[in-house]
Structure formats: C-alpha cells, structure tokens
Subunit: 201 residues, 2 copies
Amino acid sequence: MIKNIVIVDDHQLFLDGICALFNKHDDIKVLLATTNIKDAINCIDSENPHLVITDISMPEMSGIELIALLKKKQPKIKIMVLSMFANIQSYKDIDAYLLKETNEEELIFAINEVVEKNRKYLKIIEDKEENIILRDNNVLLTTREKEIIRLIIKEHNTTAIAEKLFISTHTVMTHRKNIFFKLEVTNIAGLTKKAFQLGII
Amino acid sequence: MIKNIVIVDDHQLFLDGICALFNKHDDIKVLLATTNIKDAINCIDSENPHLVITDISMPEMSGIELIALLKKKQPKIKIMVLSMFANIQSYKDIDAYLLKETNEEELIFAINEVVEKNRKYLKIIEDKEENIILRDNNVLLTTREKEIIRLIIKEHNTTAIAEKLFISTHTVMTHRKNIFFKLEVTNIAGLTKKAFQLGII
DNA sequence: TAATTAATACCATATTTGTGGTATTTTAAA
DNA sequence: TTTAAAATACCACAAATATGGTATTAATTA
C-alpha cells in the first residue's frame, strides 16, 4: 500500500531532510512538504492524503488549530505530530505523536501503525517531576489572550501591556488569570515555557 | 574538494534527514552524525574533519561550550551552527550560523563559503523590537547559576529554591541578580526565553 | 602565593505578581 | 433572537520579585 503524505513544518531543512529520508521508501509518497499552512490545507483538500505530518509549534497558526481544522473537514485523515516537546495539551485528534528525537525506524513503524493498521502511536513521556499531565481538554486561547501572552513574554509588565493595548491594568490582570488557568501554570516561568511548547511565540 | 563533516544535534531525525540530504552531494562526506557529544568529540579528535555542524541548544552540554572546546583544541576547524533561534550571545568561534528554517541550497552554499573560501556566513536577524543585539562577550553561567535557573524555570520561587539547595533566600536572590545581569534580562519571562535559546533547559 | 572567581549571606524597599472574588458590555454562535 | 463566550473593569491584599547595595568564605587559576 502506498501512503500519501503531506508534511507541514516551519523548518525547511527538516522538510528537505524528511523528504530525502522518505525517498528511500517506495511505499511512501510525499505529496507536499511545505512551510506554508495555506498551501498545505489546499493540497489536503484536493489530494486527500492518508496522513498529515505536522508540528505543534508553528508561527502562523498553532498546530492544534490546524489539526482541529483538518479533522473537522476530513475526519478520516490521520494526523501525526512530530514535535520537539514531550507534552501535549490535547491528543484528541492526534493519531501519532513522536518527538523529533525519533529515528527513521520508529517513524516508519509509526506511519504503518497509523495508516495501515489503523492504530494509534502516541509516544508521550509523562514527566512526574514537572507534573506534565495529558488532558483531553482543548487549550484554546482567545486572540486577546494570545496578544497578551506575547507581550508578557516580551518582558512587558502589566502596566506596560495595559498602556499598549489601551485597556485597564485590571483587564490585563484578568486575562492573565484566565491564561494561567487555561495553561495550568502558576507564574511567568511556566507561562513562557508553555508558550514555547505550544508555539504561541 | 571533498569536505569531511561531523554533525552533532540532539534530534536523531534531523540527523537522518540531513545525512540523506548530504548523500546527494558527492563533495560532502559525513564522517559522523550523532546525538552523543562525547562520540562527536572523539571523532573530531581522531578524524580531524573540515567542518562541525551543531546546534546551540542541546541538553548534555551547551553548544557554546562545545564550540569553545573544539576551537581550543583545533583552532582551524570550522564551526557551523544550525539553530532554531535567530540570536546568539557569542559568535566569536562560529564560522557559519544558519536557522533551521534554511533550505538545502543555502546550506550547501554556506558550507562552501566556510570550508572552501574561508569566509564567514552568519545569518542573524537583528530583531529591533525585541532589542536582540549580538555581543562578543561569552555568556558563561556558573554551575550553581545553571542549577538555579533550572529551578526557576520549573516554577520554583525563591524560598522553594533556597530550601531545596539548603542555602539562604538571600543567596538565591544574589544568584538571580547575577543571572539576570549576565543574560541581560529584567524578569523571569526574559530569563525563561534566554534559557530556552541557550539550551540551558 | 597572589589574584580572581564562585558561592555564600545579609539589608532595605518600591514595584509587581498572583489569587481571591464580582460584574458589565460587546461580540459571536446556536 | 436568545445564549454563550470574549473582552472589559474594578477591588483587596499577601506574597514574591527586582534593584540597589555590602561583604565574607571557599575554590581555583595565573
């Protein structure tokens, strides 16, 4: 069985590499490997691939949003996430989850598991010390919250953010509280980490 | 001219990909592509490659430390950094600096520039908004400082860190101050970002 | 051995954060 | 159009951070 794959990742070199790698496998056909999410969505719509490989952290659109969108359009499509990080907030729509530390063998194995055998392959390390727990609740921040999170990470404090957005400091604090609750963090260190992992920044 | 290259990166898949990519180029010979820094150092010592490709952020040893070590041992060796981030603290020992968003063409071009033409190829985006400025001063944190930075990023507060390390909160605050000064940040958001970028965490 | 760096400790204080609420208006979706 | 979600604003207060010092004791290196 030939598996048709679309790859979306923000690193061109990663795309080049993974294409070169898949080239060696006759049963895998890369329909498109791109950094452009819109191109990817168009291709997925028209070509109907078996599998989409993507990352969670991407600048334009969060991987989570992309996945939700794709699964909504084509529920049968398989999604593989190749991420830098070992924790995800929502694995609802994800069929395979691998770290970028993975190797060729595991990658090919996971593709077969997901596409041919209709199984899931989720490689997630539950880090007890950091208390990273998987949850099935979608962490979807509002646009305003993302705006604020970006400013926090740019080392702006509450008053600076309030001035920049022409809103009250109280409002900023409220958003902050909501963000903290949604991302399950208790301070800015945790927030910054999560933002990195989710590709918000 | 055949260029002998050693690649060190913490992502196996990246290594696989880049090897597959270099395979197409007859003038490039990958002596070793590994996630293990010690193996890399051994190979570099014995094989004397033209170029070492590495990342700044790696778990075991910081890329900066690795580069400093290599250049000390073999001053003639060329160093290419392939990083996720567009800012570096020290470019003293680095001959080429590319983002992982780069493509095959640029990568090959940069290798030729550095190895054959003895030039530098530093692709650094100076982000004015974030005020990222290149500096030639080595940012080298002490082991204690690194210990503390890791705890801060794990969302520990000053008292918790003091208790964990059996030292006074004052001491923790002093380390904190020194870290902030060295990394040129003003709060934990900046600290966390820098730690990510430098691969401390 | 002299000099330097690393690690430690302490003080003071203004500013900022984090946490606990409540509540209104605007926007978007069902 | 009714309902729900998003964005807004306000209050209070303890806890923690950031910033400005000074200073002593290892440990390491020139």
